[in-house]
Each structure stands twice: as structure tokens, then as C-alpha cells.
């Protein structure tokens, strides 16, 4: 009996505070479950079922596990400290009644042990149950054999138990340290300590506006994908910082400014709202900022991964224009024009004929591709330095093609002289009437016979930079004498569709590699060839769908966890506000406000406070949009309409969900406020 004293006390403590501890437990359970599911999906048992891109799936699931783990630690710490703060009065009472710190530590220890046990048992059970669903979902996304065998991964089980034991150990340690530092009186008082009025801080408010402005400026002005990736994280950190600054101190400052406007402030409508908003924001600013950040995270994640998944096919076609793709990368551009490509093509066709395959949609392309940096009056083309150069904003992709392979928009005849070109740009303007390329020491100049700009929103580019397509009379002579192949690359592309299934295409790939590749090597000669590759869309699709499918999947799973977290923050916020407002509600009524007035004043405050994170998240999302779009372009996801659609749908869905949660939790709020009212 005596042995069970502390566990019993701890259990009673959890039970009595169920309004607070139940949601906390639920969150713990949810996190454990999601961690197990991800762990399970990364295990060999689950991966064996997936046909496409198993290794990519594993990597991405492991990344997801890491994110969940870090998030669990931060978030559970946050909520647990909230719980502890609420309960410090109870601990103070135990302390006054004669319990030493040692006894309190034992209670806290037991509480954590109980919480851990419940979280692990329920979490793992839930995880195991849902892992089958997750597995079906993933197999469905990525292709594979669906069966109804129930699988449990023991390694994942142990891993989950171990890692969460560490997290709970850390939580417990922090609680023990906190309790050991406090004394009885401060424990008793900590909830009712007189609150100083918040002072808005000019510096922080202005800093918040400036940082946010800076982040938005970056997001809007970035004009190429590589810079976007580099700066995205900078912008994210800036936005997070600014959100906290603005919601914590900026909003208080705003209330203070409103208060100095006597005509505005001393109106029945604004008087109570403005002054209590200042207090509310001081206490809840951080919580609101967290909600806002989480909301933005969910929205970005869902909209991007959805866009990736639905755009995967497009992206795949862009990367693999045909089902079978030959690429010969050459050192010597002369090989492009000396008839070798024609011979190579016939070798390929012969082999196909032997296998009884008729190729369709044959596409043959010869080009010299260069990267350049626009300088004053010429373009510096230096393949290595230009692509490594830091200034991504001035980088261009230049594709030099033979004039017979393109058509101008007005179908003008293209019998070009050796010093004439046709120039087509995408994503940039070229106002001069000559084009000068500097390649190493040498330069070449051409007169521009015909110029047009064709914007395809990144469709012509490979790296996502602005492109120039330069049509010349003869490819080989255009770069004649510039033997340094580091300055440019000559490529021959030969691609076609076969109309076969993925598996047959994969087999064909092997046949072609064995029978055709040696011949091609001979044709292009060892010296002139850098490499020859044969890619099939079938194999590419495994990687593509593996990547995008599992990202999509993880986007959904993580969103669920984050939504849980956001709901919990909202819930705790409502509860703590309810307790704070109860007394105020009572006073205002005694001083002569009607219940209706008080209610409408409070609900308008709650609404404002609640709308803020959503408004901020929406704002962040709007400004992040162009930046994310640029990054997606790098993955050949150039369908802006699709991305716009997934973003808007995500936002609307989230907003609806948010309003529902607000409705439900504000019910709890009103119950607390009016409940205390009756007890008075």
C-alpha cells in the first residue's frame, strides 16, 4: 500500500488535471504513433513491398523521422512546461503540507513514467494499427503488390521506445530542476503574481517590421532557382524571427499607440478591448506566433508536396522527353556535323528492328551548350567558372543549335551566313543587334538576323536560369578553334518512344546497353567522346515517383502532427485565457457592463487574436509563393496554375479546420469564464 503511494498521487494528479493532461497525452501518443509509422516505412519489411524507388523512400522517411523527433522534443517541452506552470500551485500546497523537494521529485518522476508508459503503449498500438494503412497508402502511391498481411517491425518498436524514453527523460529532468529551484511560496503564488502592464518596445516592433520586409523583399526579388534555394532558409529564419517580434511586442506597441489617441480609446467599443488586448498579446504573442509558424509550415508543406505529386508526371516527361533517351556528350563538336550522328542513329534503328520494335516520336537533337554571365557588351562563357560562380542572378544558359532544327514564329527563311544567327530568348531580353561570346581567350561575334522572345516559364531551361537559344549556320564551325571542351559541351540527343511497358523498356535498356553502346563508342571514337548514356523513362519514373510520392506522403503525415500541435497550443491558450478572464468578466459585470457587452467584447478580442496567425500565415504564404515556385522549377515543376491551385486549396482547407477548432475551443473558454462566475 505504502509502496504505491507516489504512483497513486501522480496518477491522481494527472486525473484531476485531465482538462490539461489529456490533450498532452494525446499529443504524445500521436507523435509516438507517427514516429513508429515512419520508422516502419523505412524498414526493409515495408520497403520490400514497394517497386519504385525504395532507397529514396528510405532516405526521405528517415528525414521525416528526424524532423518528428526534433519537433517532439521542442513541442513536448513547450507543452509540458505549460502543464507544470498550471500545476505549480498544487505542488506548492504539497510542499506547505510537509512534502520535501525529494517527495515532489518522486511525484514528478512517477508522473513522467506513467505518461511515458501510456504514450508508448497507446502510441505503438495506434502506430501498428495505422502502419498497415500507411503501408497500403504508400504502396498504392508508388506501385507494388497490395496484400493484407499484418506486419510489425521489431527494430522500429525498440527504436521508438528508446528514443522517446530519452525525450521523456529530458522532460523529467527539466521538471525536476525547475522544482528544485523553486520554493513553496513562489510555487503557490506563481499563478496569481500581479502582472505588470506590458510595454510595447519601439525597437523590437520596428525591427520586426524591417526583418519581415527584408524577408519579403528577398522572396519577391529572387529570380533564379539556385539563389532561391540558398536564400529560402535565410528568409524562413527571418520570417520566424519577425513573426515572433511582431506578435509579441509589435502588437502591444500598436495597442499602446491606440491608447494615446484619446478620442479613439475612450469609446465604449474600444476601451476595454484595446487595453486588455495589450495584456492578451503580451501573454499570448509567443503562442500565436508559434501557431502562425506551424500553420505556415503546414501550408507550405502540403501545397508543395501535393504540387510535386501531381506534377510528377510532367516533371518526369520533362526530364525524360521520350521513353528511351540516348545522350552522347562529346569533346569534339566536329563529330556533330561529320555524319557520325546519322550512322549512330542507323545503328540504333537496326538494333531496334532486330528486336521487332518500331520507334515512334523519334527526336534527334544536336547542340552545344554553354553557360554564360552577361557582361558589358559580351557574354562570358566559361563552363566551369560560370556555373561555379557566386552570382547566380546573372547566369544564363545558352543552347547553340543548327539553324535547320528551329523555326521562327514568322517562318522567315533561315539560310544564315556564317556570321549570322537567330536568337530566341526565354526569361530575358536581349536588346543588342550583335551577340559576342567570350570563351576563354577567344571571342566570337555574330550579327543577329532575327530575334524573338519566347517565354515558356522555365520550360526551355534545364537549370532554371534564363536561356538563349542561338541558331547558327554550322554547329562545328561556330566553335571552331576553341578546343577547350571545358568551355562548352557538345551533345547529341536521340530519343524515341517504344510503346512498350515499363518492364519491357527496362529489358530493352539492357539489350541496348550491351549491343549498341560499344558500337556508338566506336563511331564517336574514344577520343572525341566524354560519355554516352542511355536512360529510360521507366527507370526514371521509379526515382521520380519514389521521391515525390514519399515526400507527398510524409508531407501529409507531418502535417497531421503539426496540426495536432497547433490545436494543442490553441486549446491551452483558450484555457489559460479563460482562467485569466474569469475574474475580469466578473468585475466588469459589477461595474455596470451587461453580460452581452462583455461577451461581445471578449469574443471580438478572441476572434482578432485568433485571426492574426491565419492572416499572418496567409501573408507569409503569398510572399513565399514566388520563391517556392522558382525552386519547384528546378525540379521541372513549372505548372504555376497547379501550384496556385494546391496552395489555395491547402489554405482554404486549413482555414476551415482552424475555424472549427476555434469554435470548439472557445466553447471551453466560455464554460470556464461563466463557470467561475457562478462559484463567486
Amino acid at each position: 500500500m505504502k509502496k504505491l503511494f507516489y504512483p497513486r498521487l501522480a496518477w491522481e494528479g494527472l486525473r484531476k488535471n485531465r482538462q490539461l493532461s489529456r490533450p498532452y497525452l494525446l499529443t504524445c501518443i500521436c507523435m509516438v504513433a507517427v514516429f513508429y509509422i515512419l520508422s516502419f516505412l523505412a524498414s526493409p519489411i515495408a520497403l520490400a513491398l514497394v517497386v519504385r524507388g525504395a532507397s529514396v523512400v528510405r532516405d526521405i522517411m528517415n528525414l521525416g523521422k528526424f524532423v518528428i523527433l526534433v519537433f517532439s522534443l521542442i513541442f513536448l517541452y513547450y507543452t509540458y512546461s505549460f502543464l507544470l506552470r498550471r500545476r505549480s500551485r498544487e505542488f506548492g500546497l504539497y510542499n506547505v503540507l510537509g512534502m520535501g523537494k525529494r517527495n515532489l521529485v518522486r511525484i514528478i518522476t512517477w508522473e513522467n513514467v506513467i505518461t511515458f508508459a501510456i504514450a508508448i503503449i497507446c502510441g505503438l498500438l495506434l502506430g501498428i494499427l495505422l502502419s498497415k494503412l500507411a503501408e497500403l497508402g504508400l504502396v498504392n502511391l508508388l506501385g507494388g503488390t497490395i496484400d493484407f498481411v499484418f506486419r510489425i517491425d521489431i527494430t522500429s518498436l525498440w527504436q521508438t521506445i528508446l528514443l522517446y524514453a530519452v525525450i521523456f527523460g529530458l522532460l523529467m529532468l527539466s521538471a525536476i530542476i525547475r522544482t528544485a529551484r523553486a520554493n513553496a511560496v513562489s510555487l503557490m503564488k506563481s499563478e496569481s503574481a500581479g502582472e505588470k502592464p506590458p510595454k510595447g518596445n519601439w525597437l523590437f516592433a520596428i525591427l520586426g517590421v524591417l526583418i519581415l520586409g527584408g524577408a519579403y523583399y528577398i522572396a519577391l526579388t529572387v529570380n533564379n532557382p539556385v539563389t532561391a534555394i540558398l536564400l529560402f532558409f535565410v528568409a524562413v529564419v527571418m520570417v520566424i524571427l519577425a513573426t515572433y517580434l511582431l506578435l509579441v511586442t509589435g502588437s502591444v506597441k500598436l495597442c499602446r499607440i491606440l491608447q494615446t489617441n484619446k478620442g479613439y480609446y475612450y469609446k465604449a467599443k474600444h476601451f476595454v478591448s484595446v487595453s486588455s488586448m495589450a495584456f492578451r498579446m503580451k501573454r499570448n504573442g509567443a503562442g500565436l506566433a508559434s501557431i502562425c509558424i506551424i500553420a505556415t509550415m503546414i501550408l507550405v508543406m502540403i501545397s508543395t508536396t501535393t504540387c510535386m505529386w501531381f506534377g510528377a508526371d510532367n516533371s518526369l516527361r520533362k526530364s525524360y522527353p521520350r521513353e528511351i533517351n540516348f545522350t552522347a556528350t562529346l569533346n569534339d563538336p566536329a563529330k556533330l556535323t561529320d555524319g557520325t550522328p546519322e550512322q549512330a542513329a542507323s545503328v540504333i534503328l537496326d538494333e531496334l528492328q532486330k528486336n521487332g520494335i518500331t520507334p515512334k516520336n523519334i527526336r534527334e537533337q544536336r547542340m552545344i551548350d554553354l553557360s554564360g554571365v552577361r557582361k558589358d557588351g559580351f557574354i562570358q562563357c566559361d563552363y566551369e567558372t560560370a556555373s561555379m560562380g557566386a552570382d547566380f542572378n546573372s547566369l544564363l544558359e545558352i543552347y547553340m543549335v543548327s539553324s535547320d532544327s528551329i523555326e521562327t514564329s514568322d517562318n522567315s527563311p533561315l539560310d544564315l551566313a556564317a556570321d549570322e544567327i537567330v536568337l530566341i530568348t526565354d526569361g530575358m531580353d536581349y536588346p543588342d543587334d550583335t551577340l559576342t561570346l567570350a570563351m576563354g581567350e577567344k571571342t566570337r561575334s555574330w550579327k543577329i538576323r532575327h530575334y524573338e522572345r519566347r517565354d515558356t516559364d522555365g520550360d526551355t531551361s534545364i537549370m532554371g536560369f534564363p536561356t538563349m537559344t542561338v541558331a547558327v549556320a554550322n554547329l562545328a564551325t561556330a566553335v571552331e578553334g576553341i578546343n577547350d571542351a571545358e568551355k562548352y559541351q557538345s551533345r547529341w540527343y536521340y530519343s524515341f518512344d517504344t510503346g512498350l511497358s515499363d518492364a519491357e523498356n527496362t529489358d530493352l535498356h539492357i539489350t541496348l546497353s550491351q549491343n549498341v553502346r560499344p558500337n556508338l563508342n566506336d563511331l564517336f571514337t574514344e577520343d572525341a567522346t566524354r560519355w554516352i548514356s542511355i536512360d529510360t523513362r521507366a527507370e526514371g519514373s521509379a526515382d521520380f515517383y519514389g521521391t515525390y510520392g514519399s515526400l507527398f506522403f510524409i508531407g501529409i503525415l507531418l502535417s497531421i502532427v503539426f496540426i495536432f500541435a497547433a490545436v494543442l497550443i490553441i486549446y491551452y491558450k483558450q484555457i489559460s485565457e479563460g482562467y485569466e478572464d474569469a475574474k475580469r468578466f466578473d468585475i466588469m459585470q459589477k461595474v455596470g457592463m451587461t453580460k452581452k457587452e462583455i461577451r461581445s467584447s471578449i469574443s471580438s478580442q478572441l476572434l482578432t487574436v485568433f485571426a492574426l496567425p491565419l492572416i499572418f500565415a496567409g501573408m507569409h504564404l503569398i510572399f513565399a509563393f514566388p520563391m517556392i515556385r522558382k525552386m519547384l522549377a528546378l525540379l521541372h515543376l513549372t505548372n504555376v496554375a497547379l501550384f496556385m491551385r494546391t496552395t489555395v486549396i491547402s489554405f482554404v482547407a486549413f482555414a476551415v479546420f482552424y475555424v472549427i477548432v476555434y469554435r470548439l475551443t472557445s466553447g471551453i473558454y466560455y464554460r470556464i469564464v461563466s463557470g467561475l462566475n457562478q462559484n463567486d
Partner: protein
């Protein structure tokens, strides 16, 4: 006509599931004349707080009437109660009931703001009151920055600023030390001398001895009342204590 008339007031509380009923007020009758300073005394559970809540229009009587300037409380419409309270009654509570989100000045303005007064007008009304209560230098401070006595003076200012017909004070000295209590009681006496009607509920014989008349409540009825007449505070105090002793011993009406 009396300022306040309470006639055969009765209040019965039912327990939640309609089981036992508790009679908080049985049959209360008394009147308060304009400019009077009346104290209501009684032990815990005698029905004092119930009475005050009914007088404050925060609660409704089961039967009986309360008339202020001849206006029946039970006839006031639900949505007019708050503004009626604001215009006619001033409150001073034991726990001050100042909002910690406001400065003392804004706390005092609260009823006027609710009544839709402009800032300049409110300020003009406040200044003489603040000077007479000695809080003119504290107006920009927040409740947490000032002492209990100062908070209570701010609460009195809030009660006075609407120029109410009657001030209802509920144990106003309950949370104050003896020096602050004495100051506050003097303040009430001064306010009363200037013509303000005051009705105070209190435990403290010392507080009651500063009033003009004391009503004793026991078991939901006015059990006895004492008039000060021309007596000094000390003599009146002695009489109150004697009556309380009698009450405690369960004696019959003197």
C-alpha cells in the same frame, strides 16, 4: 418618499436538483433616507451578501419589493439593468475589483466610458474627486503599483464619478490595514457629509460606528437597529458591541 425602500424582501435558494431549499432572506423591511449613512451588520450566513446583491440588482428577490426613488427593481427590463446600475448605484468592494489592465484613471473612467461620455468631460469630472480623495498623483499608475488603501480610494472614486443616488459598500475595509481602514472610513464620513447616501455592509463594529444608523440582520431578518443620534463614535461603538454580544448570545430583541 424615502430614497430606498425595502419591503418584505424574501430570497429562497434551491439546491441544484430542486431538493432542499434555503431561505437566505425571510422578511426584510427597511428604508434609507436621502443623505443617510447606514451600516448593515450581521454574522456570516445572516443574508448580508444576498441582500446587497439584490440591492445591487445583481440578483433577484423571490418576493417583496425594492424601490429606489420609487422605481421598482423588479420592473426594470433585463437589458436596462446594467445601465440602471451604472447611473444610480456606486459600488465599493472588499477586493477593490479594479481591472489590472487599466491605469487607476482608466479604471475610474470605466462607468463613464460605458455611458458614452467624452474624454474632456470625464477628466473635468474626475479632477475634483481625485483631489478630495488624495489620488491625483496616482492616476497614471497601474493597480499593481499602489497600496491596498490607494486601490480602495480609486475604487471609491470610480463609485463617486457617476454621482450615483446611493453608494453600496461591501466590507470596504475588509482587505485593509487599520490605518488605511480609518482613512477610508473618514472618507466615507466626509462624502456622506457632502450629501452622498451610503449603504455599507460590514463585519466590523469599528466601521459601523462611523455610520449614522446600524441595521442588524440575523437569520434573514432585520433583527434590530441603532440610531447614532448625537452620540460620539466611541459611545456608538460601545452600543454596537453590546448589541452584537446580545446577538451572539441569541438574545431576544432589546
Amino acid at each position: 418618499m424615502s430614497l430606498l425602500e425595502v419591503k418584505s424582501l424574501k430570497k429562497v435558494y434551491k439546491t441544484r436538483f430542486g431538493g432542499q431549499s434555503v431561505e437566505a432572506l425571510k422578511n426584510v423591511n427597511f428604508t434609507v433616507e436621502e443623505g443617510e449613512y447606514v451600516a448593515i451588520m450581521g454574522e456570516s450566513g445572516s443574508g448580508k451578501t444576498t441582500l446587497l446583491n439584490i440591492l445591487a440588482a445583481l440578483d433577484q428577490a423571490t418576493s417583496g419589493t425594492v424601490l429606489l426613488d420609487g422605481k421598482d427593481f423588479s420592473k426594470i427590463k433585463e437589458n436596462e439593468v446594467a445601465s440602471f446600475r451604472r447611473d444610480n448605484l456606486g459600488f465599493v468592494f472588499q477586493e477593490f475589483n479594479l481591472l489590472d489592465t487599466f491605469t487607476l484613471e482608466d479604471n475610474i473612467y470605466l462607468p463613464l466610458v460605458l455611458a458614452g461620455k467624452g474624454y474632456q468631460e470625464m477628466k473635468a469630472t474626475l479632477m475634483p474627486i481625485a483631489v478630495s480623495l488624495g489620488i491625483e498623483d496616482l492616476l497614471k499608475k497601474y493597480p499593481y503599483e499602489v497600496s491596498g488603501g490607494q486601490k480602495q480610494r480609486a475604487a471609491v472614486a470610480r463609485a463617486l464619478i457617476t454621482q450615483p443616488r446611493i453608494i453600496l459598500a461591501d466590507e470596504p475595509t475588509g482587505a485593509l490595514d487599520s490605518k488605511s481602514s480609518d482613512e477610508l472610513l473618514s472618507l466615507f464620513a466626509d462624502v456622506n457629509r457632502m450629501g452622498q447616501t451610503v449603504l455599507m455592509v460590514t463585519h466590523s463594529a469599528r466601521a459601523a460606528s462611523r455610520s449614522g444608523r446600524v441595521l442588524f440582520i440575523r437569520d434573514g431578518e432585520v433583527f434590530h437597529q441603532l440610531y447614532r443620534g448625537e452620540e460620539s463614535d466611541e459611545l456608538f461603538y460601545q452600543k454596537i458591541v453590546d448589541t452584537l454580544t446580545l446577538l451572539a448570545q441569541g438574545g431576544e430583541r432589546a
